[in-house]
Point group: C2
Chain length 465, copies 2
């Protein structure tokens, strides 16, 4: 434990410098979904590879058809396990910009009225702040002990926020290099600010864009209104039909492969002391809007959804324009659970739209990624080890929870590389990821670094036994 103690002390001593490094990374606007920021994505990748090289990793920026990957290797002791750490350096777009209190790419360390401190800016929590907790733990280990307690591969992608189009070819092309004993992923939340969490289930995701076309030009609603098909009306009808009165999704076959939650899991979740009113209240809501007869935790962790993420058609500027648009479009996503099949659900949606097209209307579809849900075994020994290490660091013991979000890479690691993932993150529910004014608590950053030091140490020690 002497080496762990000195590593933890080193982390505490260098906290300010680690914040400065994170701020450097946060200043790079690495928005992956918008091609205008491609060069910034590359800059972020190069910044990370440079930092990892500086602390002793063999680090490279690797080109793909899209944004580049960062792959870095560091040896560990003979017989120690090989862990792959995964994170992503790309970030979400920042619109609506006018709702940000400050430039999203001018990060600050802010002290709040209650004395807590936070790092602000796009990517501070999702995922730059999180991935740097692991990098800082490695830096301190190498500084204090000259090496790492495990063999470590760090694998950072730059398209997580835009459907990871290059991930699968890259995994396939570099299978051997990237396959480790276990993957460590830092892109999730704590249960609360005192209670670390390991996520054992994640919802999958199907992203679709549908464009409804009607007339071959925009029409004047005076001349044509009453006779011409209106694609916004057609689209509204399709989208309104996606749910029934009880909040269930109406796509045929949608619930194929969706299990009811086992009673024992229900009990665990009921004992978490989850405050649904506070969860909804934190964003100005009060009533669960999803499937009737389900708890909020079930709705967001174990039930599938259909959401409209964006819609656009006709005149949306200032004032008014009496136009019948020639097209209308929507971005729609489905969160998947258990064994729902992304391909079948995508096709069911397309068929659902086609069946609702009136005369003269056509539909065009664009695929925006898809991945099945994953569910980790509750009885894994690696899970036990990590849970104990986390419980040693934080005020309360670590809990095992579900996850509403989708991290496609977890399913691909399992399917393509046969590798389980431990999802351990230090985000909080009010971090406003994907929203204006994203932040990461300094406590998440600091104790996250210390947590990884403990986990690396425990994994190394465990195997050395």
């Amino acid at each position: 434990m002497a080496s762990l103690d000195s590593v933890l002390a080193c982390l505490d001593l260098n906290l300010d410098r680690s914040v400065d490094r994170l701020k450097d990374l946060l200043r790079i606007p690495s928005i992956s979904t918008d091609p205008a920021y491609a060069a910034d994505c590359r800059r972020a990748a190069e910044w990370l590879a440079g930092d990892l090289s500086a602390i002793g990793f063999a680090a490279e920026v690797r080109d793909t058809a899209g944004r580049p990957m960062v792959v870095a290797h560091h040896d560990g002791p003979e017989g120690a396990p090989h862990v792959l750490f995964y994170g992503h350096y790309d970030v979400q777009p920042v619109d609506p910009l006018e709702l940000w209190e400050a430039d999203p790419f001018a990060p600050e360390l802010k002290t709040m009225p209650d004395g807590s401190q936070r790092i602000t800016g796009r990517g501070s929590a999702d995922d730059k702040g999180q991935l740097m907790t692991f990098v800082e733990a490695c830096r301190a280990f190498i500084a204090e002990t000259g090496s790492l307690p495990c063999r470590v591969t760090i694998f950072l992608e730059g398209e997580e926020e835009s459907g990871s189009p290059s991930l699968l070819p890259f995994l396939d092309a570099n299978r051997e290099e990237l396959t480790a004993d276990v993957a460590l992923i830092c892109d999730t939340n704590m249960w609360d600010k005192d209670t670390p969490a390991i996520s054992t289930g994640l919802r999958g995701l199907v992203g679709e864009e549908v464009v409804i076309h009607a007339a071959n030009q925009d029409l004047h609603s005076g001349y044509f209104g009453g006779a011409a098909a209106n694609p916004i009306r057609v689209l509204s009808k399709v989208l309104a039909d996606l749910h029934d009165e009880t909040g269930r999704v109406t796509l045929p076959g949608f619930y194929d492969g969706v299990d009811e939650l086992p009673d024992e899991v229900k009990t665990i979740w009921n004992n978490l002391g989850f405050d649904a009113a506070a969860f909804l209240g934190s964003v100005g809501l009060s009533v669960p809007a999803g499937e009737q007869g389900r708890s909020v935790l079930e709705q967001v962790w174990a039930r599938p959804t259909a959401e409209i993420n964006g819609i656009e058609g006709g005149y949306t500027g200032k004032g008014f324009k009496t136009v019948i648009a020639s097209e209308a479009k929507a971005k729609v996503s489905f969160r998947l659970v258990f064994r729902q099949d992304p391909a079948k659900i995508r096709e069911a949606f397309r068929q659902f739209v086609r069946e609702r097209l009136p005369a003269d209307c056509t539909a065009e579809f664009h695929e925006h990624g898809g991945s099945p849900a994953i569910q980790l075994p509750f009885d894994s020994p690696l899970l036990d080890t990590a849970r104990q290490a986390l419980s040693d660091e934080w005020p309360k013991p670590a809990v095992m929870i579900g996850m509403g979000g989708s991290i496609p890479v977890v399913g691909e690691f399992k399917r393509r590389l046969g590798m389980d993932s431990l999802l351990i993150g230090f985000g909080l529910g009010d971090d406003r990821i994907h929203s204006p004014n994203e932040k990461y608590e300094l406590s998440s950053f600091r104790y996250g670094q210390r947590s990884w030091a403990r986990i690396l140490h425990a994994l190394g020690t465990r195997n050395a036994r």
Copy 2:
């Protein structure tokens, strides 16, 4: 008739110069709905007042709270009628700009493969080209005879495309000055390129914008999807509910004051030889999408509508963003017929939305203008005079038709000034007004000028009898 013949000859002789003048006016991007073009609107008003002054009118640009008005007066012979000519110098926005073949504000006189010529650009048909037909007729009359056959007031507004917010106060404040024996309005279409038309009925219009609010911030659809209200889904449901399966509008009380068409009018319209397939086919459609059991002419001239003119919410940029938006909005308009009450329909819509709001959702409304429909008497002597004058100019006799569009000023002239309007325009159905690549046929421009010369002459002669 000698004076009329010389005026017509003068118009023919000066056609090229009249096209150049129209092009000068079309180069001014007088988009009234977007405040960024306010100065351009003023430039257009000043250009017109300058041109009218140059030909002998007492012309002024008059300020309003919004875009300015142009008012110009010219005396006529003792005992001749006083006519008020109304047009508008403002134009629609030009988006989507990428669909224009040329700069919307760089007008050209283009010769088509069939030898016909057209004037291109935003406003060429709606309404700058149309209003200049009347100005050119006046110019030629004054040039050839030293005066005009009627007393003429020209009244041009700059907010017709944005709900005419300043029109009512201006009419009320200048009632005496603007009240004439009849209004002449040139903002409508011909029946076809050989057949002039006088519109005797116009639909009214109610413009509304609705914004649905849910959470107090944009949410991540992974964390909140399944539990949080989605305002796009709420909005889609409201909009989908606006029509029933037969295409009827479902707002309670919507059809109050809507008459069935008299049989004699149905007969007239049936005899027009209207080609519904060609009308729809011209814009890439084939099947009337409106109320079942109504002819297309009835649908667009004599039936009310509910149209969604624009919709926007969530992420609509490139790629994908798994967001649940905090708000979604739509611009909705209703075309009114007969005695439908705009205020009642606006309130019925707002009530309809409010009744469909789930918990945690609120609706915000913005009014974008409203006017009732108008229906002119078929037996007016002025109508007969104008009809005969038009029939003398064009290959086929003038017909009396309905109008699907709304020209609110017509109702206000009647209600506030007690003045009937003759709606005579030379636009064609393929002029693409409100759409990319708007144009005005040179034949519309040329024979429109000659038509006004004949009408002014006939109105002056008729009263002199």
